[in-house]
């Protein structure tokens, strides 16, 4: 029984990272209708920023997260405004290819700067955790989960309570009507993508603490972000939170099956996604479009 509880806890904690990875991806997809294949790259850029700050300035990694968010917001805003906006009205194949191209460039630039060595961020408290009898709740994933929830709440707040957030909602509902009431689409689009990138950056910071990073380490997260959003349901931040936690649970339980192991990570993600799309395409919390 304790084992089961341990697994559930580990699953929810793992879910924290997936929530962070998913909310940014889902925002960009839901509002801009862009499936950002460079999402993983944005995540890993965040990881490297955290690593760099941790290594040279000895900052506690959790304190680097706001830097990740700001840096990636700026990057995301610039990318959307400068590049992605140019093909936003083209068929979706083009946004796919474009973001894939950006992904390629980003990863290779990182390779050029940092090389392919694995790096890790290990704060002093990384091996430790709260203990309740035989159940352990490790600190880093616990705080990460907290950060992820906070991030989602902040995102939801921005979307529902601020002017720019309402503008973004308006665009998501009806782009042309939004223009008619005077919303600057270019700016709003760029802010949206910037927010998505910022979330990715924070996720990257969290990931740097939970695994070793290398420029290509962000790749699997793109597909996983996609699955998380589908699982939870496209359209609301809360749905993605549920999706992320659920995905974490699935992953932990799947890995605990003797014999399978983590080599099948992608196969599991893909299989889950097909299952959801075939049985309940609107996701756990979503509404059928």
């Amino acid at each position: 029984m304790a084992d089961f509880v341990q697994l559930v806890i580990l699953g929810l904690l793992a879910g924290g990272v997936y929530v962070a990875v998913g909310v940014g991806f889902g925002l960009v997809w839901g509002v801009l209708n862009i499936v950002n294949l460079a999402h993983g790259a944005l995540v890993i850029i965040g990881s490297y920023i955290t690593w760099q700050l941790f290594t040279t300035l000895h900052l506690d990694p959790f304190l680097t997260l706001p830097v990740d968010a700001v840096a990636l917001f700026v990057l995301g805003y610039a990318l959307q405004r400068g590049v992605i906006n140019r093909i936003i009205r083209a068929p979706l194949l083009f946004t796919f290819l474009l973001t894939f191209g950006l992904n390629l460039v980003a990863i290779n630039v990182l390779l050029f700067i940092f090389g392919s060595d694995f790096r890790s961020v290990t704060p002093a408290y990384s091996g430790q955790g709260l203990e309740f009898g035989s159940v352990v709740i490790p600190y880093v994933p616990l705080i990460s989960l907290g950060v992820a929830i906070l991030l989602s709440a902040a995102l939801a707040f921005i979307l529902n309570r601020t002017r720019i957030g309402l503008a973004i909602n308006a665009i998501a509902a009806d782009r042309d009507a939004a223009q008619l009431v005077g919303i600057d689409l270019r700016h709003a689009y760029a802010v949206t993508f910037g927010l998505g990138a910022a979330c990715a950056g924070v996720a990257g910071g969290l990931i740097a603490m939970s695994q070793a990073i290398t420029p290509t380490a962000g790749e699997p997260y793109t597909l996983q972000a996609f699955v998380v959003v589908i699982l939870g349901g496209l359209g609301r931040v809360s749905a993605t939170v549920v999706g992320g936690l659920a995905f974490g649970l699935v992953e932990v339980f799947a890995q605990s099956i003797p014999g399978s192991g983590s080599v099948f990570a992608n196969a599991i993600a893909f299989g889950l996604m097909v299952l959801v799309l075939v049985t309940r395409p609107q996701g756990l919390l979503g509404r059928l479009r």
Binding site: N85, I88, L102, L104, V105, L277
Partner: protein, 347 residues
């Protein structure tokens, strides 16, 4: 004008390798007599097959599959396993590559092709990634079923002028792919596919059985891609997850079709030649060598990828309808064409 130039180049590329035969050695025709060029030319032909095959499901039918490399790998492993484990002769094993690939595509296509747009693209990407992973890691009775991480070794095909043989075999496959595309575009099947691409609901109410047609296009695309994979396995003698399911190939196929012109007969082939030459050039595998300032030899593959990525971005933004459209009817590169493309798609 370009048509004639292209035809001349193609003829040269196809016939020059014959000079490697001992009888013609003394003629000393440059370039294509070199074994290195065989390899590259064969690779180019391979990509012509894959890009043309992708065009059938992606360009003509409008379902942009992002995981077609799965069929390449399936074809390669089908032939590979039949040769290595079941000891079948190569030419008997080869036809099974397209067959198995097509079968898999039909199976996977039925649920997958019900998805539209984003969902289909990423789902097919997922297939591509997952199949590669499964093939590499599935065990049977404790042993990796398909050779695992260490891959599968095939016996070397015993034939004279091996390089020449595989080159022409791959070229034959490319010819088949192009011929099939040409036939499709003139047939009832092709009209149905284009109708599905332009407006699926309208096609349905006009009597097009969209499900069957989509799956058929997918299977056809898979068969051709699998054929390339089957040839590759014997030609390369060694196959593993990295060289038969590289995710890169997915994008290359699409980029080639896009670059040359989706939905056309020769577009993907043109794109394949151009892009592959560029990739090889940047990667340093061409005999033409040069030094790039600030970039060490080690960093060259990285630079190659960066340029590839930037090229992808550039093509998508500026030349979305491909080179064939770009050059069709014009004799000069035109800035206004680029500007017009931009205006059509940007905010």
């Amino acid at each position: 004008m370009f048509l004639i130039l292209g035809a001349i180049l193609a003829a040269y590329a196809l016939l020059a390798p014959l000079t490697s035969l001992d009888a013609a050695q003394s003629a000393n025709v440059p370039l294509l007599a070199d074994r290195l060029w065989f390899r590259i030319a064969t690779i180019i032909a391979m990509f012509i097959v894959m890009a043309t095959a992708w065009n059938i499901i992606g360009g003509i039918t409008g379902y942009a599959a992002f995981g077609n490399v799965a069929f390449f790998g399936i074809g390669a492993y089908t032939t590979g396993m039949l040769i290595a484990k079941a000891k079948w002769p190569f030419l008997v094993a080869l036809p099974f590559a397209p067959l198995v690939s097509a079968g898999f595509a039909a199976l996977v296509g039925l649920p997958l092709l019900r998805l539209r747009g984003h969902y289909f693209a990423v789902a097919s990407l997922g297939v591509g990634v997952a199949v590669g992973e499964l093939v590499q890691n599935i065990d049977y009775g404790g042993q990796p079923l398909f050779g695992g991480a260490s891959g599968l070794f095939l016996p070397i095909y015993a034939i004279d002028n091996r390089g020449l043989f595989f080159f022409y075999l791959m070229v034959a496959a490319a010819t088949i792919a192009i011929a099939v595309t040409w036939w499709v575009l003139r047939s009832r099947f092709g009209y149905g596919l284009i109708a599905i691409r332009e407006n699926e609901e309208a096609a349905a109410v006009l009597g097009v059985n969209t499900t069957v047609y989509k799956v058929a296009a997918f299977a056809l695309s898979a068969a051709l891609t699998g054929l390339a994979g089957g040839i590759f396995s014997q030609w390369n003698v060694f196959i593993n997850q990295d060289n038969t399911f590289p995710i890169d190939y997915n994008v290359q196929m699409i980029l080639m079709a896009l670059l040359g012109g989706t939905g056309t007969v020769f577009g993907p082939a043109v794109g394949a030649v151009l892009l592959q030459l560029l990739i090889q050039f940047l990667g340093g595998s061409l005999p033409i060598s040069f030094d790039i300032p600030f970039v060490s030899a080690d960093a060259r593959p990285i630079l190659a990828q960066v340029i590839l990525g930037l090229l992808l971005v550039g093509v998508v933004i500026f030349v979305p309808r491909g080179v064939i459209d770009f050059f069709g009817g014009r004799s000069r590169l035109s800035l206004s064409y680029l500007r017009r493309s931009l205006r059509e798609t940007s905010l």
